[in-house]
Symmetry: C2
Subunit: 351 residues, 2 copies
């Protein structure tokens, strides 16, 4: 039996979406239990034999500064949900709330694993092979050292081998074109570390990849610092929205194009299903002494359910032990990380 703690108040839509997703999740997972965390009056209508309401008197809003979420709202649904993981009442927590607050609270309550300086956020992006590429970090860390990038690679490998079928997942280091100067000093040093880790059997290093390789599906895991990962993710979302918007505009142009849209409808909806980002909802916060998953704030019930599924699969497949074991195995390579952070690199550690 796996128990998930769900921050039912988080996200743009709150209980309306989270409870609908919980109901659906329970219906398809007979071996799962849920702890529904939030304001009791918002949750009391939900009744299920495998669901228990856990009261929390406060809610972290999407614009609450990290400091407010962490120091002032000590009884928030987000914090109480993570506390359930810390106390061993749940094997994983799920929230659609404010990412910065979630990371800060998770880090404060759960602490990082031995050998990990900084937790990372790993998400999936769809690729042309019909699968998904896992990318990390997605914004938790700026100014990473080579050792941080190696830590991300090790944690990402644990995540993907816990959640996907197949052999040891391949890892690519995000870099710039062959034609241009091949990466900064940090990236070059990370490449050497990753090659060593490949030789010592800590991970399956493929080599450098470029931005477009994320979507080609050249490797299972793409490693980058949080600034680059965040820009790549947002830029990709921007392009996809622009194309979809243009497609809609062109089909709405006149009576003939509207007719064409009706005829092409089955094809267009197949395309939209295939590109549906909701299928990839549920980012993992990796490197903590407990499992936490982040749903997109704007998730609907289908997307939120997907985040619950991912958290469930991660817990069932012992993601935490896998990360711990891999980090321990790679310890000789990981050791000196924060000692080498330049002064400007401490930004991420101060929140």
């Amino acid at each position: 039996m796996i128990t998930l703690a769900v921050d039912c108040m988080g996200g743009d839509h709150g209980p309306r979406v989270t409870l609908a997703a919980c109901r659906q999740f329970l219906a398809t997972h007979a071996e799962a239990r849920l702890l529904l965390v939030g304001l009791p009056e918002s949750l009391q209508a939900f009744a299920h034999e495998r669901a228990t309401i856990v009261a929390a008197s406060e809610v972290v809003t999407m614009d609450d500064p990290v400091e407010v979420a962490l120091r002032r709202k000590k009884d928030s649904s987000m914090r109480v949900a993570i506390q359930q993981v810390k106390d061993g009442n749940a094997q994983a927590a799920v929230s659609a709330g404010n990412t910065g607050a979630l990371m800060a609270i998770a880090r404060y309550l759960l602490k990082t694993l031995d050998g990990i300086d900084r937790p990372a956020i790993a998400t999936q992006m769809p690729n042309a092979r019909g699968g998904a590429t896992t990318v990390l970090d997605l914004g938790a860390n700026v100014d990473c050292t080579a050792e941080h990038l190696l830590q991300f690679a090790v944690m990402g490998s644990a995540l993907v081998s816990a959640l996907q079928e197949g052999g040891e997942p391949t890892v690519g280091l995000l870099n710039i074109g062959e034609e241009a100067i091949k990466g900064s000093e940090v990236i070059k040093a990370a490449g050497e570390l990753l090659r060593s880790a490949g030789k010592s059997g800590d991970l399956n290093f493929y080599g450098n990849v470029e931005g477009n390789d994320i979507f080609k599906g050249v490797v299972d895991i793409v490693v980058c610092d949080g600034f680059v990962g965040n820009v790549a993710l947002k830029a990709s979302e921007g392009v996809a929205s622009m194309i979809v918007g243009a497609l809609k505009q062109e089909f709405k142009r006149n009576i003939f194009t509207k007719l064409a849209a009706i005829i092409a409808y089955p094809v267009l909806s197949a395309l939209m299903r295939r590109m549906d980002h909701r299928r990839y909802n549920g980012a993992a916060l990796l490197g903590l002494r407990g499992l936490v998953f982040k749903s997109h704030g704007s998730a609907d019930a289908l997307a939120y359910e997907q985040a619950l599924n991912r958290a469930y699969d991660a817990a069932r497949n012992n993601l935490l032990d896998r990360v711990r074991t891999r980090v321990a195995h790679a310890a000789p390579l990981l050791a000196p990380a924060d000692a080498q952070v330049p002064p400007s690199g401490m930004a991420a550690a101060t929140h």
Copy 2:
């Protein structure tokens, strides 16, 4: 009369594409002259009263290392084309060759402008407003300082005001989400410098933007370091290719979807025209004492012609003087740039 020096041998297709584009360009620009640079035997069939063949005995290939292009092939078509600009025979050079080699040769022959430490590569990306967003740097520089980013902003403003209608173009600083930690120390310092430059009238600073804002068209110019810009560009190309690929696959699925494709054809081709990256071909190498434009290596004649058009418009609108004037005006803010580069930041300066 504007004269362009064209590296006819560069790119994946060489004279077959470049000469076709030159013919079309001459037909639509009665006030233009071309210097066609390359192997005489490859160019001699081209005859036009406003075109002159300039012999070069060597060709820089797409995989030539920068060192080979710069030190060994001293009579390459790329180098001879840039030499025409240096000697005052042409107002701009255009090449579809190897970016690293082009930048290195251009920098070696032309030198940088006073007040500019590092040239940048600026390209256009289509946006949802039906226009284009200019993004720089696209890979010439990794590990930039805040002052470098300010230089890019100043040069980008000169480029856009030379090539686009409208008032003073707006500049956005590429950063990560509000929710996460707001950028590295370099980005924070760049934000302050850009705000100062906005106040002193050196540019029209909008503020921070995120990856998706490139494609929304929130600002005219997006400034970032070359690593981030390269990843954003390549990731965006990757997403667009994936969506177009999926659209084609879905329409080819069976007889009904193929029929739908025929009916939807006018709409789909309107979409493809709108997203056609060839319309945005022609990246500017900014910060040099002469104008150089880079075409995509895989450009066809239509795309290459667009690069010629951009070079022509830039020369006609005195881009070089505009950059020089703006850089001089912003000199008090720009002064200390390379003094503050960390040791790892020198990578880009060594080639």
